[in-house]
Amino acid sequence: QTKLLLFPLSSSCSASFHSSGETQIVSEQAIQREETMLQCIFLLSDSGEVMLEKQLTGNRVDRSICVWFWDQLLSHGDSFKQQPVIASPTHYLFQVVREGITFLACTQVEMPPLMAIEFLCRVADVLSDYLEGLNEDVIKDNFIIVYELLDEMMDNGHPLTTEPNILREMIAPPNIVSKMLSVVTGNSSNVSETLPGATSSCVPWRTTDIKYANNEVYVDLVEEMDAIINRDGILVKCEVFGEVQVNSHITGVPDLALSFVNPSVLDDVRFHPCVRYRPWESYQILSFVPPDGQFKLMSYRFRVRKLKSIPLYVKPQITSDGGSSRISVMVGIRNDPGKAIDSISVQFQLPSCVSSTDLTANHGVVNVLSNKVPTYVRSYEVVLKLILLSYCV
């Protein structure tokens, strides 16, 4: 199974605006600085509403910081949205935006910014894993679980338990059974009564007593290729990023080893904590005790040096006469790779002066995602997304 992405596709999220006439409230209590890392985490919906706040230290952060943040966001637009570290008048803010939900963390003291960002990403991962996707409703519906998770993941501004497997054992994810139970009996607890055994073992990512009838391990290689092609159609840069995704269902505490035929092609590697460094250093063998279920074992990167071209070609053609112009984009397979390539999507942005579009495709579906720019009444910023489904040559 090969997934091929031509360009990193960004999910362009449409922000809806709301005006807030609130003035900033300055807390009157004297600020006493503490030597803790993160002070507070806010979850904001895509309309700027504070859905949740979790104070992590005794030094509480007022909600007014979110009002400030949202005002800045409205006045600065997208470039602010992509700024991971923001220095507000009173706090340093870290933001991570996932599927419209803004995760905002505040601190007042020096701390590694990547740590905060990485942590917020981890929170987002865990939440979307627990709630099967992220959106405003799902967070509000399960706010108790979100609270419990945040409380367990961070203690006094320092991450405590972030391993998804342990979290799952401590706080049960919502599922159909528990939902039905709670409807019928009005009583269900998602808090585990005992401490997961894994917290005390030397492999904290795996619980000890797992039993399966069939022992099986699935390994998927998912590769992404980033390429930059210049105007003349010449390949400027081409890199392949790969992930080894493993789905393991094995009884007990297995110790696995995985080796590559030709590990020397890999430029860089990054491992799940379960991979032992020594065997890789000496023999390039992945030796690990796997977590249970789905996880990302490693990711790697290598630069494609020999490849002259990528398997696909994209040829844009632009002709213009007077007020209207024609764009035609041709997408096809260059050298027959011996396999069908499916689910090709092409995404491009039209300049802001374009007022209307009429798009067709000879295969697949065309989607126009519009983004109304509030200052210009008639102009639309149009993102054309042309999806050719099951396109085979």
């Binding site: 706040e53 419990e148 005992t194 990054r270």
Partner: protein, 1104 residues
């Protein structure tokens, strides 16, 4: 909401989620208050309790205050259901600090839970107990933590470790040693998970207690790869600091390499460096690099604020490191093991860990191994979009110091369509830094595509980057110029049709880049200038035209072609003069004047005609600046211009003439080629730190420890002899540094001679103008120790020039960067300060008793929390008033309460005042009272007793007297100010009218006894000093500006907060005309942000 194309799909999906919401807590979040919560909390059933608690949490999540349920919630802490417990804990942690008394009720239950058999219960109890942060129970928590630190469960021990910082936050001096002891025990724990949590505790509890690390150093290193990722980040930092403090920097490392490079280059500097560059052809940019690199190195050790401020006073008093402070990575086991154990972390999945490990290798690894960090760092760029920017910020610093590290990986910094603007700008900058002869071709090709980017701001940045690349690689200059020229042509066509602002920005940037490149080597780029000038007709953007015209004047004598075409071009610009914008007009005038003063020979007559024509046009211009410039040039160039017409005047002013010629010569002929390279004052912070991203030292930022500042306890005995050795070393080191300064005398003496010049010139001017005294900086008053009274009694006006009064050798006004300013000190103002009087008791309400009070500038000796107040009691009635006494309200009503408050802070709200036995009618008396306000905004309720009756009164605090003067000089002020940027700074503006009345009065008298400026300065200073207890540091006034334009007037005041002696700096900048109300901007820099803000409001109120 805006209509969206996928609206139907949206509603469908929403409808389906409603189905899924059944059975979740959705209804609790949507309608938390649709049932009465209180009875549910008291219910017998756990499920009902749970529901109530969930509703409370929902309210908390939505930002409501539900602390009034606190007592009822606390009761449930004893519940056996773990779920109820967890929910109660969540609630407790949120509100405990607000309701400390009720929170104490939960302690018993915690203590019981700590003995529970379930480790989860123990851990939760400990976490919550420490998390509610009450001073009263701190000893109990400490005992509990000590117990849990020996718990069999790893999880509980981990929680014990993370409870330590919570205890530390309470600032209990008497327990700190116990806390550190527990940190020590937990650091030796067998479980890596516990060690990780303890590392976090260590860094917040006792980051400088290196002996704890020293004892376990090797074990900590070996355990490092097994520690959980978050702990790794902190632990890496701790180990790095320890190794540097213990062993110093590594000899083979990049740091030492930069350091030694800097030494050799500084030697070069001593001998005249310019000639050397000329001979050996050293690329000046390379020198710049090494300078920057050595700066990076010093910033890491000293912190950039220290370093930059130091370098601003005294140029070259470097910290000298003798060889003894360096160690070798090959011989030193500790360094070796650290590098060994951090290198597998490059494979970590957590980008923060990778960056932290890269930081260690950057600082400690031998130079030849540093390349190891490159690939992992580049891989990080791929990890997530959010961390991308942070990683790039760090790579930027690395690349600046060692461009060759990343040179071969330039492709990784090519821009992706999904990058944010900030990321794009950073990537451009990195690409510029790392471009080499081999890579520049492809980079430039890539740049050509970027110029077409729809984001024109980014396109302009790209154009600037092309210019920078050309500067760095002189070989590419002509290629770059060609590209840029093509751009100006192409853009000029589009700008005809629709000259949007952004497009203009790109064009201006392109021409600025051309100017920059041409400046490097004008003769070889002659044709470029010619082409630009030819394009003048089609380029419409004023700023771009101005630059081209400037270049024409600057390089009018360069090469063959330009002098020939000069007259034609001049005719053209003279013809188009009237239609130009004023910016272009000014440059046209400059150019004409330059060419005129340079020209000799045949064309002179034509040139003079053109010159006269342009000057005449200028003098009739609508814009006064253009008019003024025109008049000025006519005067200056009178010898060149109308020597025939003004012949009679020439005789009279022949002396003047000579002077003018010299002046003109100076202004136009000396091309400012010897511009010193841009001073390197980037702020560099440790790799991976927050400060590096926000570019100011975040609170709590610590640079690396000074190398070799500790000696390990464990090794101390073994190293006694070595210690002796090192002692003698430090002695010799001091001597060495002394001799280093001595050898550096040339620089210092240079500074002295400069000062001498200032002194002599000041004497000259003294004779001319006795009012303004220009003094050498050495004559400055000893500001630090100066007595306020003494300073204020001096009634003279001291002024000294800030800059050296050298001739304006910067040829064009455009190049003069800093507006010159003079500094005045007003000393006589102290006597005229009249503090405001407030009324405490009105005679109408108080049976004829009148009590007024003023805040005193004296600082109370009793306690820093106490404010001194002068109260005057006056008897306005016709009868004698006896037994007057002032007391605190609580003193009588609630004695218990006051005792409690005193236990908190040991100072009563009102120091008891002596009773005034009797006051005759009309008699008045003054008393000094000492008051401790609870808050700087809230009034204090007092009671006055006399004649056996009580009268409640309110004493309103004045935040201006919660500070005391902090004498300092301007440099110290600026230094302090630079330490308090960003969030510590607040500004507000207002209109100041205080001086207008006075000036109007003066006008009536027709006696301008005082300079308007002085009146303005004095009235602002007086208003400030009458309203707050502060110290006037300096008064800066602009001297370049027009006669009564007060813009740029700047007053600085300093003070420190009484209670915690945090400095509080006030800067007032005025703008406007002296005789009219001024627009005043007040800026307060203070660590206590809330206090600063309130003080600012107070000042603004009193000024306007």
């Amino acid at each position: 909401m805006f209509p969206q194309f996928g609206a139907t799909a949206d509603t469908l999906s929403k409808a389906s989620t409603i189905m899924f919401r059944i059975g979740t807590d959705a209804h609790l979040y949507d309608d938390p208050e649709d049932v009465n919560i209180a009875p549910l909390l008291d219910s017998k059933f756990d499920s009902e309790k749970c529901e109530a608690l969930k509703r409370l949490l929902a309210l908390i999540a939505q930002g409501f205050d539900v602390s009034n349920f606190f007592p009822q919630v606390v009761k449930n802490v004893a519940s056996h259901s773990l779920e109820v417990k967890k929910l109660v804990y969540l609630y407790l942690l949120h509100y405990a600090q607000k309701r400390p008394n009720e929170a104490l009720l939960s302690i018993n239950s915690f203590q019981k839970d700590l003995g529970d058999t379930n480790p989860l219960v123990r851990a939760w109890a400990l976490r919550t107990m420490a998390g509610i942060r009450l001073h009263a129970i701190a000893p109990l928590v400490l005992v509990a933590v000590g117990k849990c630190a020996r718990d069999p469960s790893v999880y509980v021990r981990k929680c014990a470790a993370s409870a330590l910082p919570k205890l530390h936050d309470l600032r209990l001096q008497e327990h700190s040693s116990t806390i550190e002891e527990i940190v020590g025990t937990l650091l030796t724990d067998n479980s890596p998970a516990v060690v990780g949590a303890t590392a976090a505790a260590f860094s917040s509890v006792c980051p400088n207690n290196y002996s704890l690390i020293g004892k376990n150093y090797k074990r900590l290193c070996t355990i490092l790869p097994d520690v959980e990722e978050w702990g790794q980040i902190v632990l890496i930092g701790i180990l790095l600091r320890y190794v540097i403090a213990r062993h110093g920097l590594v000899k083979q490392s990049m740091m030492f390499h930069l350091h030694s490079k800097e030494h050799s280059s500084s030697e070069n500097d001593d001998s005249d460096a310019d000639s050397k560059f000329g001979k050996e052809g050293i690329d000046p940019s390379k020198k710049y690099d090494s300078e920057l690199a050595s700066m990076i190195y010093r910033c890491y050790i000293e912190g950039p604020d220290d370093y930059l401020s130091r370098s601003s006073y005294s140029n070259k008093v470097f910290l000298t490191f003798s060889g003894a402070k360096f160690t070798s990575s090959k011989n030193n086991e500790d360094v070796k093991i650290l590098l060994q154990c951090t290198s597998p972390l490059f494979w970590s999945n957590n980008s923060a860990v990778v960056l932290a490990a890269a930081g260690v290798h950057w600082i400690m690894a031998p130079k030849e191994n540093i390349e190891r960090i490159v690939k992992p760092l580049l891989f990080l760029l791929r990890s997530s979009r959010n961390s991308n920017y942070v990683v790039l910020c760090n790579i930027q610093v690395f690349a600046k110091a060692m461009p060759y590290l990343f040179a071969s990986h330039f492709e990784n910094f090519f821009i992706l369509s999904t990058d944010s603007y900030q990321t794009k700008a950073l990537k451009l900058e990195i690409l510029c830094t790392i471009s080499t002869d081999s890579s520049i071709a492809s980079i430039l090709k890539e740049f050509q595509d970027y110029i077409r980017d729809p984001d024109r701001r980014f396109a302009a940045d790209t154009v600037a980057a092309i210019g920078l690349c050309a500067l760095q690689l002189p070989k590419m200059a002509s290629t770059c110029l060609e590209g840029l020229l093509a751009l100006t042509r192409q853009d000029s066509f589009t700008s005809d049709a629709r000259a949007s602002e952004e497009e203009a920005g790109v064009l201006v940037q392109a021409i600025m880049s051309i100017k920059m490149i041409v400046k490097q080597d004008p003769p070889s780029h002659e044709k470029v200038i010619v082409q630009l000038v030819r394009n003048l007709d089609s380029i419409k953007v004023p700023a771009a035209r101005a630059i081209i015209i400037w270049m024409l004047g600057e390089y009018s004598k360069v090469g063959e072609i330009i002098p020939k075409m000069l007259i034609t071009v001049l005719k053209y610009i003279a013809w188009s003069f009237t239609s130009e914008s004023s910016e272009t007009k000014l440059q046209t005038l400059n150019t004409v004047a330059k060419i005129l003063s340079n020209s000799k020979g045949g064309d002179l007559e034509t040139l003079t005609k053109i010159g006269c024509y342009v000057l005449e046009l200028a003098e009739c211009d609508m814009n006064y600046v253009v008019r003024g410039r025109g008049c000025f040039f006519r005067k200056l160039l009178s010898s060149h211009l109308g020597s025939k017409k003004l012949e009679d005047e020439v005789v009279a002013s022949s002396q003047n003439e000579g002077l003018l010629n010299v002046l003109a010569e100076h202004m136009f002929h000396e091309q400012a080629t010897q511009q010193s390279p841009v001073p390197v004052n980037y702020r560099v912070y440790l790799p991976g730190s927050l400060s590096q991203i926000v570019l100011h030292a975040a609170p709590g930022y610590e640079p690396l420890p000074k190398p070799c500042t500790i000696l390990d306890d464990a090794d101390a005995e073994a190293e006694v002899s070595e210690q002796d050795g090192s002692d003698s070393f430090t002695g010799s080191l001091d001597e060495e540094s002394g001799s280093y300064n001595g050898s550096d005398n040339s620089v210092a003496s240079g500074g002295n001679t400069d000062n001498g010049k200032t002194g002599s010139s000041s004497e000259d001017e003294n004779i001319q103008d006795p009012l303004i005294q220009i003094s050498d900086e050495n004559h400055l008053r000893p500001a630090g120790s100066a007595d306020l009274e003494e300073l204020m009694s001096r009634r003279d006006l001291e002024t000294w020039l800030d800059d050296q009064p050298s001739l304006p050798n910067s040829s064009i006004p455009e190049q003069s960067k800093v507006p010159r300013s003079a500094r005045i000190s007003i000393k006589d103002i102290g006597k005229r300060v009249i503090p405001k009087t407030y009324e405490l008791l009105d005679p109408a309400n108080g049976n004829g008793m009148k009590v007024d009070y003023t805040f005193s500038s004296e600082v109370s000796t009793i306690s820093p929390h106490v404010i001194t107040i002068q109260a005057s009691f006056e008897n306005c009635s016709s009868e004698t008033i006896s037994n007057i006494v002032l007391k605190h309200e609580d003193f009588t009503t609630k004695p218990s309460d006051s005792s409690e408050s005193s236990s908190q802070d040991d100072v009563p709200a009102l120091i008891p005042m002596e009773e005034i036995t009797s006051l005759e009618p009309g008699q008045a008396t003054r008393e000094t009272i000492h008051v401790r306000f609870h808050h700087h905004l809230l009034p204090l309720k007092l009671v006055i007793y006399f004649n056996g009756k009580s009268h409640p009164v309110k004493l309103r605090p004045d935040i201006g007297y919660f500070v005391k003067p902090l004498p300092m000089d301007v440099d110290a002020f600026k230094d302090k100010e630079s330490h308090l940027p960003g969030m510590f700074e607040c500004t507000r503006s207002c209109i100041f009218k205080g001086h207008v009345d006075y000036l109007n009065k003066e006008k009536g008298n027709h006696t301008f006894a005082k300079d308007k400026f002085l009146v303005v300065c004095e009235s602002i200073a007086l208003t400030m000093l009458s309203n707050a207890n502060i110290f006037l540091v300096s008064v800066d006034m602009p001297i370049a500006a027009k006669h009564d334009d007060a813009s740029g007037l700047c007053l600085r005041f300093s003070s420190e907060i009484l209670s915690n002696s945090a400095p509080c700096l006030i800067t007032i900048t005025a703008e406007g005309i002296c005789s009219e109300p001024l627009n005043v901007v007040v800026k307060v820099n203070c660590e206590e942000t809330v206090f600063g803000l309130n003080l600012l409001n107070r000042i603004v109120n009193s000024l306007s």
